[in-house]
C-alpha cells in the first residue's frame, strides 16, 4: 500500500506573493504550477461559460421522470394507497409503491450506519416528507400531475418531535420495526476517564457549566440531489449518474441493495453543485430511479425540489450539549466534561465511520493541554428526517469545537480573564507534539500561539478592546463584542483500521498515466464538489514530476475508470487522496529515474532530480540532463530492458494518522441595543493547514466556510412545529446569508507541516465552518459579558439577542438616541 512517503526532502514551507505565482525571492513553486502557486482553476472554463454538466443537465433519449409522493404527516400508518387515478393521468407510465419494490427486493436500503431505511414506506411513516410512492412519467410536469393524484389513506399517529420527548417513558415508539426495540433510545456512547475527571471537578478551584444546543442545520448546497438511472438490458448493466460525494462506496451499496453484481454497476458523479456532506448518504430517490429504470428498461431521471432536499435529506448537528470545565484559580484548565443528547431522526443514518457512533466528537478537549476529560452521549430516534451528516465537518468535530471554544470563553468571563490570555495559558505547546489527548487522539503538529498572535495583530485586538470599553462607558447605542476561537481540527480519515464507511476502509487512491508525448492523466478516488481538485491534484503531480500543470488532466467521479476511493468529505481529499497523488507521482519519478539513467547512460544511483527545473541529471554533471517529456517518450519508444514499457503508477494510500489543522479566528461585532441586530465589524481568520498547495483555492475555501459559519451562528435552523411539520423547510424559511450579510474576511496563515503527510499538507476545507461559529457566538456574548451574560443559543436571531440584552437591562429605547430641535427659536421647524 502506501510506500515511500518520506521523500528525503524536508517538508518545505511554500510561500507565495499575493499577486499569484511563486515568489521569486523564495525557493518555492517551480513556476510551472507546482506547490504553492496560485494557479487559476482548470475547471472554471466550463462553469463560467454555461458548459458545466450537472445532474439535471443530463438528457438521455427516451428518458422518463420520477416524482415522489411524500407524507404530509410525521408519524402515520399507511392504510391504503390508491394509484388508479394517477395512472389515468396523461403521460404517467408507472406508479411505484413499497409493494412493487418488494417484488424486486428493493424495498429497503442500508443507511451509512447499517440501519435499514424504507425506500418507499412499507407500513409506517416516520417523518414528514418521507417517500411514500413514486410516479414515473414522460415529463416532469406529468410526473407531478400524477403524484398529485395518488391517494394515500393515513392513520395519523402521535408524533415525537424532540429528543427529550422521545426519551420519556410514555413516548410512542417510532422504531417498532426493529426487533426488541421498546423505546426511542438509539445509542449510548462514552469516552475518556470518568473517575479521574470527576475527581478533578470535585477538587477544582473553579468549575463552570453551560448548556448549549447546536441546532439542526442543513448543508443546503445550491444544487439539490438527483439521479439519472439507465439500465441497459443488453449488457445487464446499470449506469447511475448521481449527485454523489462518494461514487465508489455508493456503487458498493447499490450492489448490496439491488443484488446486481458490482462490476455491472457504473456510478458517475458528474459536476456536483456543492455537497457539504449532503451528498454522502444514499437517498430513496436514487434507489427509486434505479429501480424504475430496471423495471421499465428506460432511463429515469429524479431531481429533488429544494423543499424536498431540506425536509427529507441528511440534516447536520442537532446536538444538545452540556459543557463543563474545571480550572485553577489562575485559569489553568484541568478537566473537561460533557454530556450530549443527540437527535438522530427516524433512522440511525449519521454519516460517520462505523466505529465512531459519535463521530470525532471526542476531540472536545480542543487545543488545550488538560489532565482529564470525560464525555457521554445518548442518541434518540424522533419523527424527523434521518441525518447527522458531516456538514463540512469531520464527523461532529464541529460540535466538539463549538463546545470547547464556548466553554473557554465562559471560563474566561468567570475568572475575569482576557479570553486570549486564558487560551495562551492552556495551549498545547509546540514541543509537546506529537501530543496524545486524554480521549486518545494523537495530534501531529501545531503552534497554536503563533496563529493566535497573528490573528490578534491582524484584528487590532487592543484597539477594539478599548473601543468596547469606551462604548460601555458612554452608554452607546451599539455595543462592541470580540470573540475568539482557537480551534484544533481533525481531518483526513482513515486510517483504514479505525475508520471505515459501511465496512470499507477509508483509504484513497490516485492513478497517474504519463502519455508518450509527455502529458498526463491523473485519476483520483475522491470527487470534487467545488473544491478545485482538477487543479490542486494537478499541482501536486506537477510538483512531484516537474511537469507543467497545463499538461495534466485530473479525472474523477466515474467508477468505471477511476481507482476506488472513499470520496470527498471531512476534508479528506488533500490529506488522503492528495497523499496518494504525491506517492503515485513519486513512484512514477522512480521509474523515470531508471529511464533517465538508460538515456543518459549513467547508473541509476547517479541520477538526481532537480525539483526546481524538474529535470533529471547525472550527479555532478548538470548538463547531462533530460526532461520528463523526453523520459515519457523513451518510456514508450526506448524503454530500458530492466523495466516494463510505459510510465504510470497507482497508489492506494492508507494514512498512518489523521491530520490536525488549526487556526485562530477573531470576530468583532456591533450589537444594536434597540433591535438586537448584529453587524460584523471585523472578521479575521488565521489558518494553519500545513503546506499549502494553492493559496488562492485555500482562501476561497476559507471564505466559503466562514460564510456558512455566519449562517449557522446567525440564521440557519431546520425548525418543526408540534406536529413534526418542518417549518423551516425551504429557502423562504431556511435562511442562507446573502452577499449583504457576509462581511469581507481578512485571512492569514501560519505553516506547520504535518510530519507524517508526504507533502506536509493537512487539509483545510472544513476549518472555517468548524472554527467560526464559536468565535461569532463568543463575540456576541462578549458584548454583554460585562453584565454577566454567558451564553446565547444559535441561531442568534435578533429576537434572541434582544431578549438577552433586555434580560440584563442593556436594551435601549430609540428615544434615547435622538433629539429634535426646533431651530433657534425653538418654535419654528427648520425650513426646507
Amino acid at each position: 500500500m502506501s510506500s515511500d512517503f518520506t521523500d528525503g526532502d524536508e517538508p518545505r514551507e511554500f510561500v507565495h506573493d499575493d499577486d499569484g505565482g511563486p515568489d521569486p525571492e523564495t525557493h518555492c513553486g517551480h513556476g510551472r504550477g507546482g506547490m504553492g502557486e496560485e494557479v487559476r482553476r482548470k475547471e472554471d472554463k466550463r462553469f463560467i461559460t454555461g458548459r458545466g454538466n450537472y445532474i439535471d443537465d443530463i438528457k438521455k433519449p427516451n428518458m422518463l421522470f420520477c416524482d415522489i409522493v411524500r407524507s404530509p404527516h410525521a408519524h402515520a400508518r399507511i392504510k391504503n394507497i390508491d394509484k388508479s387515478r394517477a395512472l389515468d393521468v396523461d403521460g404517467v407510465v408507472a406508479v411505484l409503491t413499497a409493494e412493487d419494490l418488494l417484488e424486486h427486493d428493493l424495498a429497503t436500503m442500508p443507511t451509512l450506519m447499517s440501519d435499514t431505511q424504507d425506500v418507499l414506506v412499507r407500513d409506517k411513516v416516520k417523518f414528514q416528507s418521507q417517500e411514500v410512492a413514486a410516479v414515473i412519467a414522460e415529463d416532469r410536469y406529468a410526473a407531478r400531475d400524477g403524484a398529485d393524484k395518488v391517494v394515500v389513506d393515513y392513520e395519523v399517529l402521535d408524533p415525537v418531535v424532540t429528543a427529550e420527548e422521545a426519551l420519556k417513558d410514555d413516548a410512542p415508539v417510532i422504531r417498532d420495526d426493529i426487533e426488541g426495540q421498546t423505546d426511542n433510545h438509539c445509542l449510548d456512547w462514552e469516552t475518556g476517564d470518568k473517575e479521574a475527571t470527576d475527581a478533578i471537578f470535585e477538587e477544582a478551584d473553579v468549575t463552570v457549566s453551560e448548556q448549549m444546543l447546536y441546532q439542526r442545520l442543513h448543508p443546503a448546497p445550491i444544487e439539490t440531489c438527483g439521479s439519472v438511472a439507465d439500465f441497459d438490458p443488453g449488457k445487464d448493466k446499470l449506469t447511475v449518474h448521481m449527485t454523489s460525494q462518494a461514487p465508489h462506496i455508493h456503487r458498493t451499496l447499490f450492489s448490496q441493495v439491488s443484488g446486481i453484481p458490482e462490476h455491472k454497476i457504473r456510478i458517475v458523479s458528474p459536476d456536483v453543485g456543492g455537497g457539504f456532506g449532503n451528498k454522502v448518504p444514499i437517498y430513496p430517490g436514487y434507489v427509486v430511479s434505479a429501480a424504475a429504470s430496471y423495471v421499465l428498461e428506460r432511463p429515469v431521471k429524479w431531481i429533488e425540489e429544494r423543499s424536498e432536499n431540506i425536509q427529507s435529506t441528511g440534516f447536520a448537528r442537532d446536538y444538545d450539549m452540556t459543557g463543563e470545565l474545571a480550572a485553577t484559580e489562575d485559569g489553568r484548565i484541568q478537566a473537561v466534561r460533557t454530556d450530549v443528547l443527540a437527535d438522530h431522526g427516524a433512522y440511525n443514518a449519521v454519516a460517520q465511520p462505523s466505529k465512531f457512533p459519535a463521530g470525532f466528537f471526542k476531540i472536545f478537549t480542543g487545543s488545550y493541554d488538560v489532565d482529564a476529560a470525560y464525555g457521554s452521549l445518548t442518541a434518540a430516534y424522533t419523527n424527523s428526517a434521518p441525518g447527522g451528516v458531516a456538514y463540512r465537518c469531520s464527523f461532529r468535530v464541529t460540535e466538539a469545537v463549538y463546545l470547547i471554544e464556548r466553554m473557554v470563553k465562559v471560563l474566561a468571563d468567570e475568572l475575569d480573564m482576557d479570553p486570549a490570555e486564558i487560551r495562551r495559558k492552556n495551549f498545547i505547546q509546540p514541543d509537546q507534539f506529537p501530543y496524545e489527548t486524554p480521549t486518545g487522539w494523537n495530534y501531529d503538529s501545531g503552534d497554536y500561539e503563533a496563529a493566535l498572535d497573528k490573528a490578534l495583530e491582524m484584528a487590532d485586538y487592543e484597539h477594539y478592546r478599548e473601543e468596547q470599553q469606551r462604548r460601555i462607558e458612554n452608554d452607546a447605542d451599539k455595543l462592541i463584542g470580540i470573540g475568539i476561537s482557537s480551534f484544533t481540527e481533525v481531518v483526513g480519515a482513515g486510517p483504514g483500521k479505525t475508520c471505515d464507511i459501511a465496512g470499507v476502509e477509508m483509504f484513497d487512491s490516485c492513478d497517474i498515466r504519463v502519455h508518450p508525448t509527455g502529458n498526463a492523466t491523473v485519476r483520483v478516488g475522491v470527487q470534487t464538489q467545488g473544491q478545485g481538485h482538477e487543479t490542486t491534484f494537478a499541482q501536486i503531480v506537477a510538483e512531484e514530476l516537474g511537469m507543467d500543470v497545463d499538461n495534466i488532466t485530473v479525472e474523477h467521479g466515474d467508477t468505471d475508470t477511476d481507482p476506488y476511493g472513499l470520496g470527498t468529505y471531512g476534508s479528506r481529499s488533500t490529506p488522503v487522496a492528495g497523499a496518494a497523488a504525491a506517492v503515485a507521482a513519486r513512484k512514477v519519478r522512480d521509474k523515470a529515474k531508471s529511464i533517465a539513467a538508460n538515456e543518459l547512460e549513467a547508473a541509476e544511483a547517479d541520477i538526481e532530480w532537480d525539483r526546481q527545473s524538474g529535470e533529471f541529471h547525472v550527479a555532478g554533471a548538470p548538463d547531462r540532463s533530460i526532461t520528463i517529456t523526453d523520459i515519457a517518450a523513451s518510456a514508450y519508444m526506448n524503454h530500458p530492458a530492466s523495466e516494463e514499457p510505459g510510465l504510470e503508477a497507482v497508489d492506494y494510500y492508507d494514512p498512518p494518522e489523521m491530520t490536525y489543522p488549526f487556526g485562530s479566528y477573531i470576530v468583532v461585532v456591533e450589537v444594536d441595543r434597540e433591535t438586537g441586530e448584529v453587524d460584523f465589524e471585523k472578521f479575521v481568520a488565521v489558518d494553519d493547514c500545513g503546506n499549502r498547495i494553492n493559496p488562492m483555492i485555500i482562501e476561497g475555501q476559507i471564505h466559503g466556510g466562514l460564510a456558512q459559519g455566519i449562517g449557522s451562528a446567525m440564521m440557519e435552523h431546520v425548525t418543526f412545529d408540534d406536529n413534526g411539520n418542518v417549518t423551516g423547510g425551504d429557502f423562504m424559511n431556511y435562511l442562507l446569508p446573502t452577499a449583504k450579510e457576509i462581511p469581507n474576511f481578512e485571512t492569514g496563515h501560519t505553516v506547520t507541516p504535518s510530519p507524517h503527510h508526504p507533502i506536509g499538507a493537512k487539509g483545510v476545507g472544513e476549518s472555517p465552518l468548524v472554527g467560526s461559529p464559536p468565535a461569532i457566538v463568543n463575540a456576541v456574548v462578549d458584548a454583554m459579558a460585562h453584565e454577566g451574560i454567558s451564553h446565547i443559543e444559535m441561531p442568534m436571531t435578533p429576537d434572541r439577542v434582544w431578549e438577552t440584552l433586555d434580560s440584563v437591562g442593556l436594551s435601549r429605547d430609540p428615544s434615547d438616541s435622538f433629539e429634535i430641535e426646533f431651530g433657534d427659536t425653538g418654535a419654528e421647524p427648520a425650513d426646507d
Binding site: R470, G728, T797, F822
Partner: protein, 295 residues
C-alpha cells in the same frame, strides 16, 4: 414544483381584462407573478385560467396628477426605487422599495400585485395605509375607489370583488411640512418583514403635528393602522417623548404571533422601535433638525 395546467389570456386593454374576468370561470390575475408563480408551483392556487396583465400598457405608469401620486397596476417595485420623483418627495416609498425582496423580484413584482396579495408581511400595504391611500378597482360595473383602510380583510383576502381588478393605487401628493418614512426589520436581505412601520406626519406652521398616519407590517392578520398612536401624535409637537409614546401605543395595538423567528413580545417591542425610528426620519424629512445621539 410544477403548476397544474391553466389557460393563459393576455388582454391588451383594461376593458378586455374586465370582460375576461366576467367571462371566465374563477380566473386568476397575473401581474408580476412574484407571489402568484410560487403559489401556482406549489399548487396552492389551481386556477383554470390566468389573466396576464403584462401587455396592458395603459396600466404601466407612475405619476403625479390631480393632487395624487398615481401608481398604475403595472408599476414595478423597481420603478419606485429608481424614480427621482419618489426619491424627492415620498420618503416612505423610497425607503420601502429597496427593502422589498431582491433586485430581480423588484424588476418584476408590482405594487398593486403586492397590495392585492394582501400578505400581512407585505410592505406596500403599510405605506398605503400610512398615506391614507386608495385602491382604484375596475369591474363590470365600472370603477370603484376603495380607501386602503377598508381594503384588507384577512391574510390574502381583500374587499375586491371576484370580477374586479386593481387598476391604480394612489396617495395624496405631499403637503408642505410633510415627512414620511418606512422602517423594516428582517432576518436577512430579501426576506419578508418580522415587523415594519410606515409613518407619515404633516406639521402645521407652528410645528405641531396636524396629521399622522402609521401602517404596520407583519404584526396582525392584515397590515393595520396604529390608530391610537396616530391620535396621540396629533396636536403634539414632535419630540422624543411624543414619539416614544406613539411607539408604545403602536406596539400595544399590534397583535403579532410568536414563531421560530421571534416571539410576540419581541415583535411588539420592535413595532415600538421601528415606529420611533420612522417618526424621527419623517420629522427630519418634514423639515425639523433631528440630532442623532450615537456613540
Amino acid at each position: 414544483m410544477k403548476s397544474a395546467p391553466f389557460e393563459h389570456h393576455e388582454p391588451e386593454t383594461v376593458a378586455e381584462a374586465v370582460s375576461l374576468l366576467e367571462a371566465l370561470d374563477e380566473p386568476t390575475i397575473l401581474a408580476g407573478g412574484q407571489s402568484l408563480v410560487p403559489m401556482l408551483r406549489f399548487r396552492l392556487a389551481n386556477p383554470d385560467a390566468v389573466i396576464d396583465l403584462n401587455r396592458i400598457d395603459e396600466l404601466d405608469y407612475l405619476e403625479e396628477a390631480d393632487g395624487m401620486l398615481r401608481i398604475g397596476a403595472l408599476a414595478r417595485h423597481v420603478d419606485i426605487e429608481e424614480s427621482a420623483l419618489i426619491a424627492d418627495r415620498y420618503g416612505s416609498f423610497a425607503d420601502a422599495a429597496p427593502l422589498v425582496a431582491d433586485p430581480q423580484i423588484r424588476n418584476r413584482g408590482t405594487i398593486a400585485g403586492s397590495v392585492a396579495q394582501a400578505d400581512p408581511k407585505g410592505d406596500w400595504a403599510s405605506v398605503l395605509l400610512a398615506h391614507d391611500g386608495e385602491v382604484v378597482a375596475r369591474g363590470p360595473d365600472g370603477e370603484r375607489v376603495i380607501p386602503a383602510d377598508e381594503f384588507f380583510l384577512l391574510p390574502y383576502d381583500t374587499t375586491l370583488d371576484e370580477n374586479e381588478m386593481i387598476t391604480e393605487l394612489r396617495v395624496p401628493t405631499p403637503l408642505d411640512r410633510e415627512g414620511s418614512a418606512y422602517h423594516k426589520l428582517k432576518r436577512k436581505t430579501g426576506d419578508y418583514a418580522m415587523a415594519g412601520s410606515a409613518v407619515r406626519i404633516v406639521l402645521d406652521e407652528e410645528g405641531t403635528i396636524e396629521t399622522a398616519g402609521i401602517g404596520l407590517t407583519a404584526v396582525d392578520i392584515t397590515n393595520v393602522r396604529a390608530t391610537d398612536a396616530e391620535e396621540s401624535l396629533v396636536g403634539e409637537r414632535p419630540s422624543k417623548e411624543a414619539f416614544k409614546q406613539a411607539g408604545e401605543l403602536a406596539a400595544e395595538q399590534s397583535h403579532p404571533e410568536s414563531d421560530e423567528h421571534g416571539d410576540a413580545s419581541y415583535k411588539e417591542r420592535m413595532v415600538n422601535v421601528l415606529t420611533q425610528r420612522a417618526l424621527a426620519d419623517a420629522a427630519e424629512r418634514a423639515g425639523l433638525v433631528v440630532k442623532r445621539v450615537t456613540a
